[in-house]
Symmetry: C2
Subunit: 204 residues, 2 copies
């Protein structure tokens, strides 16, 4: 669920090759990395001499620079950018908040009660999103950066029951994950993960 996934996916959608430099947790705190990413987060994209942080900004930059992720029509383009922001600013925060509490507050008396408050808040946003999507394949006429970012956020829920009341949202996520560009991005991310957790070869 690392945030390199939407960046990989966006680059695959627009057909741009990329290379990865992994950053260790200890490096995130160094002055050199903070000079690039003030909050010590990943990912950072370096592209044509430009350095960009925040996955949402990176996706918007790729979508602006190459064709394939933003409609040409000005109104549809504005709506798509609106969905990128809605994904990050309206849909994602309660999801991340519940996740964070899942790590930090698991031993507290209030844990179950608060998880349930957060789940209700998530459900409210999902109901609104589900109503908007209806039975269309994408949020607008064609797949765009907005769908890429909304699907990315919904994938954080895919192992949970939150999506059960909203079959159209489950289908929407599956539709995103079935895109060839997504599959290439996923395979590449998985390969890196597998390579890094490989035990050292015998004798090394």
């Amino acid at each position: 669920m690392a945030r390199d996934m939407p960046v990989r996916w966006a680059l695959e959608e627009v057909g741009q090759a990329y290379s990865i430099r992994s950053v260790g947790f200890d490096e995130l705190d160094t002055p050199a990395y903070r000079a690039v990413q003030p909050f010590g987060q990943i990912p950072v994209l370096e592209i044509e001499g430009i350095v960009i942080f925040e996955s949402g900004a990176i996706v918007l930059h790729i979508a602006d620079r190459y064709s394939g992720l933003l409609p040409v029509d000005a109104a549809a383009r504005a709506r798509s950018i609106g969905w990128v922001i809605a994904a990050l600013s309206t849909i994602e925060p309660p999801i991340v908040e519940r996740e964070a509490a899942g790590y930090a507050e698991r031993d507290q008396d209030w844990f179950d009660a608060r998880q349930s408050i957060m789940s209700n808040r998530i459900a409210r946003r999902l109901a609104q999103l589900s109503a908007r999507l209806g039975d269309r394949p994408w949020l607008d006429q064609t797949f765009s950066a907005g769908d890429l970012m909304v699907v990315t956020v919904l994938r954080r829920l895919s192992d949970d029951s939150d999506l059960d009341p909203f079959p159209n949202l489950r289908d929407y996520v599956a539709r995103g994950e079935a895109r060839p560009a997504f599959r290439r991005a996923f395979a590449a991310q998985r390969a890196l993960f597998e390579a890094r957790r490989q035990p050292p070869a015998a004798g090394s």
Copy 2:
């Protein structure tokens, strides 16, 4: 603290006149409004026949369409957009989360303990932001959309003590609020608020 403020401010910075249509709480839930804004939130901008929701997307659209809010240099422009996203996606969520708990969880046993957890999370982000800003007036060479959005988010804290350990952030907020465009936006928002809370004239 309504989210029309960054939109008003952005329009003032680029010198574009605008008119306001207020939306009542009861209207937010109607199918007609949901067709425009799926989450029933404000604000929405209608501009040159284009309808845009999410304050971050609106600010980005204004900044893209008119000059004055985004640097011409491609790298600086990308950084500014990165700060708009960072404001919404990294700095704001714990601030909004603590606020929301302030309304919804005030009577719970866990209220104080959780507020303190959230305050620590906010302080961590502020420390990172403060380190980045240093003693410069703005996050980059010149004021940009990124500063507009970061200052907007920090203003949610201005009545609290969170900013006390970070005098450079307090100065930064004050610098934003001192801009003529901000002052015009603030005065206009205040005037609307005062007009609406005015008691009906005697005899009416």
